[in-house]
Symmetry: C2
Subunit: 204 residues, 2 copies
């Protein structure tokens, strides 16, 4: 079984890279599907799960927020991270080749020795990408976007640290770190595919 | 003219990668040659130039050290960095494809838009590589080696900062960051060659 994990800075195009790579390789692809599975397992709303896991810092939510918490649960993010771990382990147990975007999957799947990619880009390139992709109702100013990028990446960094990954984005944690700034993602996906093939075929 | 710069952590195999890549691509290769040219231009001993530029921190050397300094030169490293810049600019002006290892060449050659690679490895892999390559007279203990790796990389980091590169090793400064830990360098060089070819052939 071959696993590729894609970690990425917000706005770098990591998700698109992962999806295109999965298409090229014929691998299963997991991203939002994990949020959906967690939400289903916990009887929660997907959007809420995504908000807690992805968009906020390492915060305690009020117990009464939304609709689904038993009294006594004080840290929802921890609870959801535990469920997320289970969901990802179940995916690995299917034994099929897959690509997973985000979720600190390189740490959670360490025992399976995945091929770990980190995707970054220059700030101006991330801002451009975010602006192009924003829905009308979420148009943010450049200043707000920079704050959003920092806040989301900070959360990823914190979760990565908490679950034992060390420093999120630290080059030593990944087989390959690619900078998408000067690429179109479709062509980059082909280049990463070739690099991965060379890695799999290497003399050990 | 295509230029590839290779920056690397000490002990990561970056030099070997650069050399093999140059062989595969038929590019000129610059590494120690630059030290030799600086030494020649300045009328200094090559080994001394290498010691000042590569092995020590941002230090002032005693004016009387070795044999070649005019009175009043208080910071030899700065002097040599200026000469290094000249030498590297002269190489670029030759107009031939080349690979250059180290020397913060990605910063010095920015206007030529080189393809910038950063080479890293896990610490244990760097220690292993250093131990295998050490001459009999430079056998260091693991502890000493770790200190040497840190000290040399710290010097690279300082020089990179001083000449305006920002944070040495910061993924956003390079097109590609490769981790050599699980590779043999010969095969890795082929993989990087393919990635570079895709980069050159990309739709802009």
């Amino acid at each position: 079984m071959n696993i590729i994990t894609i970690s990425r800075e917000f706005g770098s195009g990591g998700r698109e890279l992962g999806k295109r790579l999965a298409d090229l390789l014929g691998y299963d692809y997991y991203d939002k599907e994990i949020i959906t599975a967690i939400a289903k397992n916990k009887g929660m709303d997907s959007e809420y799960v995504s908000t807690v896991l992805d968009n906020h810092g390492w915060l305690s939510f009020p117990v009464t927020f939304q609709n689904s918490f038993a009294p006594g649960i004080i840290n929802v993010q921890t609870e959801l991270l535990v469920e997320q771990k289970k969901v990802i382990e179940e995916i690995a147990k299917l034994g099929k080749n897959f690509i997973i975007v985000g979720r600190s999957a390189d740490v959670l799947l360490r025992e399976y020795q995945p091929f770990n990619v980190f995707v970054c880009a220059e700030l101006k390139s991330k801002i451009k990408r975010c602006m192009e992709r924003a829905n009308q109702e979420e148009k943010l100013s450049e200043k707000e976007l920079i704050r959003k990028i920092r806040s989301i990446d900070k959360n990823r960094m914190n979760i990565y640290d908490i679950i034992g990954g060390g420093v999120w984005g630290d080059r030593a944690n990944y087989h390959l770190t690619v900078n998408t700034s000067d690429w179109n993602i479709k062509e980059l996906a082909s280049a990463v595919k070739e690099y991965h093939a060379a890695f799999l075929g290497r003399t050990k």
